[in-house]
């Protein structure tokens, strides 16, 4: 059993379909910690001590958010700025997160083919996510391939949401094939890399 914490960050939950469906599906998964970041810090006053204690208590950190301007909503950045402190997450003595896993669950408005050198976004999704990947690396964490839904505004959310719940369960029960999860480009609901059940 891995201790999984699921951070959910969406500033406009009322108007979200996919992320709300994901959150509903995730709420059925038992034995994991759930944090609605915008509900907990509506005034951006992130409590560094509390968040660091939470990180220490978990092995797998999942951040779920919609991609805003090739990055996360601003509260996630604020959270990173404050919580991943020097001496805690990186730098001298900063090895408290070593060996943990960071995984992003991302929805994009643009379609899959836009995120390619010849697409209109000009870069792959993973290129836009390199700051997160390097953040994980500097903190000595593994960065698993992100769980992605492209064209989220036009796609029915049910499959993606159900897949998200199965992903969280797999992480919790150590049933995810980490080798494949770490090397894949992205993970979608139909390419979840589970350990083959015997």
């Amino acid at each position: 059993m891995a201790r999984v914490i699921h951070y959910h960050a969406h500033p406009g939950q009322k108007f979200s379909n996919t992320n709300r469906a994901m959150m509903r599906a995730a709420s059925q998964v038992e034995g994991i910690t759930r944090v609605d970041l915008y509900a907990e810090y509506p005034r951006y006053n992130v409590n560094t001590d509390r968040e660091q204690a939470r990180l220490l208590d978990h092995d797998v950190i999942v951040f779920q958010f919609p991609l805003y301007w090739y990055s996360s909503p601003s509260l996630v950045k604020e959270w990173i700025d404050l919580v991943l402190e020097h001496g805690f997450a990186y730098g001298a003595g900063g090895n408290k997160l070593a060996g943990k896993t960071l995984m992003l669950a991302i929805t994009t408005a643009g379609p899959q083919d836009a995120y390619a050198p010849q697409g209109y976004q000009r870069h792959t999704l993973r290129t836009f996510l390199t700051p997160f990947e390097q953040t994980a690396r500097l903190c000595k964490m593994q960065f698993a391939a992100p769980y992605v839904q492209y064209s989220a505004l036009k796609t029915d959310a049910a499959d993606h949401a159900a897949g998200f719940a199965r992903l969280l369960q797999g992480l919790r029960d150590d049933r995810l094939d980490m080798r494949r999860a770490l090397t894949a480009e992205v993970i979608t609901h139909d390419t979840l890399p589970f350990v083959d059940e015997v």
């Binding site: 006053n45 560094t48 700025d81 404050l82 402190e85 020097h86 001496g87 730098g91 001298a92």
Partner: protein
């Protein structure tokens, strides 16, 4: 004097003992009162008490109950009910009368007697049904609303029935009872319509109804404002009683049902800001009188007669309930009530009612029925009323569980548009009210200032006059169904008492309390409140931030400092609150005092050490690694 006290004591003891036991056993208060009445009936007959005259007096409880029902019913709602009222109510009275009449004729009665019996037994018991529906919170359900519509129609129907009955008089009974004369009514009675002809009577009657309507609409407000200047609670009660008694008197004087008159007055006042005040003033009287009424029903059972004819009377009662329930169930199906509600309506209204008692004495006085039949019918009416609580229990335990799912969904809906009650609409509560209204929430405002009321009402706020610290007023304002209570009244101690009361009585209500100062925060915390806002703290902190900025501090640093100050202040509050004891002055409370001193010393030490108490903590966030950190890192990589 002692006789009166003895009687009052007897009734009170019986009620106080029997009702809690009955409610504990899940039987409901009505059955408790009825049983209490039966138990004391030998004592009453031993004392030679005239139970029937007490019953007539206690019937005033029904009048008060209809007044209260009217208060809950805005004219708009009444108008919306018209189809149910006339269709459902009219058909119920008509069909039940015919069915009972048919049964009576089948048992060998002549058609006039059978019709009279039908009319007497068609009516249901407003007292029992409404009391039980309210107690079980079923009044707002479809079944409850339909029951109410029918009861209201029956109340109106009493008037034509009273007019019809003398026409059925039996010639042989009339001659033997000439000495009975007209004044079979108890005591002296005044009438405004004696000796008037038809159209004059009609004119006087219409004038009386108009007087009630206009008086309710235009007279109550100035009267209550005048009373409010005296600031005496009992004067409100006296005024409310005066209104109800006055209306009932006027209606009786023109020959209308006093219950109907007060109901109309209630409807007229349903939109008034004094509605909840009236409700909470009248309600205790209603409760006591109805309790007394139920006890007299229990006590008036003639056991000698009952045991003599036990089989017959029980058979008649069960037959009556079966007929009435059948008619009701058929009507419920025609009027498309949901399954659960249909049974509530059918079983709940299947008894004969208190109007039956009234009509029976009237029928006998008019020589329509021989006394022997009337005495037996009296038993049937009483017995059917006694069986009603059992039918309600049957509905609750057997029928309702089958339709549980529907009920759950309904409860969820109510939850979704839960209400907010704001106690005190001054500078503090007023802003909260504006915020809630602008976000589309429904609020109920309680305030003890008549001037404030006028202002609020002119802006369309649901505002009611009254002292929010009164439990009964709070109850009338709907605290039981509310989701949030905002305590924004000025008086510190009253605010604390209110917080404690709501916490104890309505634990599901989230209370947001306005605190005067730190000590008041602790007092509210001790009272169980966990959402406490100091009235001047936030504005003071903002003023402090303005000073920081005016002194040249960078606005973002000022904001950080303000947040740190606020967090720190809150932390000390949270730490000290559990140590506070409202019964000990805080300077005599040793643990509180010691901890408070220690915390102050801590802050002082930081201040001395760094010159600024909070910057150490704020500077931690966003601070770059120090030179030492960087050197250590370079070495390690």
């Amino acid at each position: 004097m002692t006789g009166f006290l003895m009687l009052a004591f007897l009734f009170l003891v019986a009620g106080v003992v029997a009702v809690p036991i009955a409610t504990r056993l899940g039987l409901g208060s009505v059955l408790g009162y009825l049983i209490a009445g039966i138990v004391i009936s030998p004592l009453l007959s031993g004392l030679g008490v005239d139970v029937i005259s007490i019953q007539h007096f206690a019937e005033f409880g029904v009048v008060m109950m209809l007044f209260l029902v009217g208060l809950e019913l805005e004219p708009k709602l009444l108008w919306a009910m018209r189809a149910k009222l006339l269709g459902l109510g009219g058909l119920q009275v008509l069909l039940t009368t015919l069915a009972v009449m048919g049964a009576a004729m089948a048992l060998g009665q002549s058609w006039t007697i059978a019709l009279a019996i039908g009319l007497v037994l068609a009516l249901s018991s407003t007292a029992i049904v409404l009391q039980t529906l309210n107690e079980k919170g079923l009044m707002k359900s479809d079944g409850g609303q339909s029951s109410f519509a029918v009861l209201l129609f029956q109340d109106i129907a009493v008037i034509p029935i009273l007019a019809l009955i003398p026409l059925l008089a039996l010639p042989d009974l009339t001659s033997t009872a000439a000495e009975h004369a007209a004044g079979s009514d108890h005591g002296t009675s005044f009438s405004l319509v004696d000796g008037l002809n038809g159209w004059q009577t009609a004119l006087v009657t219409i004038a009386a109804i108009a007087a009630v309507g206009l008086g309710g609409a235009y007279l109550t407000r100035p009267v209550f404002r005048f009373i409010a200047t005296a600031r005496l609670r009992e004067l409100f009660t006296a005024t409310a009683l005066m209104f109800v008694v006055g209306i009932a008197l006027l209606m009786s004087m023109v020959g209308l049902s006093p219950a109907l008159g007060t109901f109309l007055a209630g409807v007229v006042l349903a939109n008034s800001e004094y509605r909840h005040e009236l409700e909470s003033d009248i309600d205790p009287f209603r409760g006591l009188l109805l309790g007394l009424f139920f006890m007299t029903v229990g006590a008036s059972i003639n056991f000698a007669l009952l045991f003599e004819n036990f089989g017959t009377i029980l058979g008649l009662t069960v037959g009556l309930i079966a007929i009435k329930a059948a008619v009701l169930l058929i009507l419920a199906r025609v009027f498309k009530l949901a399954d659960g509600d249909r049974w509530l309506f059918g079983l709940g209204m299947a008894q004969a009612g208190e109007f039956g008692f009234v009509l029976l004495s009237f029928v006998v006085a008019n020589h329509v029925l021989p006394t022997a039949i009337a005495d037996r019918l009296l038993l049937v009416v009483a017995l059917s009323m006694m069986l009603t609580p059992a039918l309600f229990i049957f509905y609750e335990r057997v029928i309702l569980p089958r339709y549980d799912r529907e009920q759950e969904q309904e409860a969820g809906e109510i939850e979704a548009n839960g209400q907010v009650i704001i106690a005190g609409h001054g500078r503090f509560g007023g802003i909260i009210n504006r915020m809630l209204l602008s976000a589309g929430y429904q609020t109920t405002v309680l305030d003890f200032s008549a001037a404030q009321m006028d202002m609020l009402r002119s802006y369309g706020v649901r505002a009611f006059f009254g002292d929010a610290t009164r439990p009964d007023l709070l109850h009338a304002a709907g605290i039981a169904e509310a989701k949030v209570l905002v305590i924004a009244i000025d008086d510190k101690d009253q605010a604390t008492a209110l917080a404690r009361y709501v916490r104890d009585t309505y634990p599901h209500v989230h209370t947001v309390a306005r605190a005067h100062d730190r000590i008041h925060v602790y007092a509210l915390y001790a009272a169980g409140c966990r959402d406490i806002i100091r009235e001047t703290f936030d504005s003071s902190v903002r003023a402090g931030r303005s000073v920081y900025e005016a002194m040249g501090m960078h606005p973002f640093e000022a904001e950080q400092l303000v947040r740190a100050f606020t967090d720190d202040d809150r932390a000390t509050l949270v730490e000290l609150a559990p140590l506070f004891d409202p019964d000990i002055p805080h300077h005599e409370n040793a643990p509180f005092r010691e901890r408070s001193k220690a915390l102050m010393a801590e802050r002082q030490a930081q201040l001395v050490a760094r010159g600024e108490a909070f910057r150490i903590r704020t500077n931690r966030d966003w601070s770059p690694p120090t030179a030492k950190d960087v050197a250590a890192e370079e070495k390690s990589s």
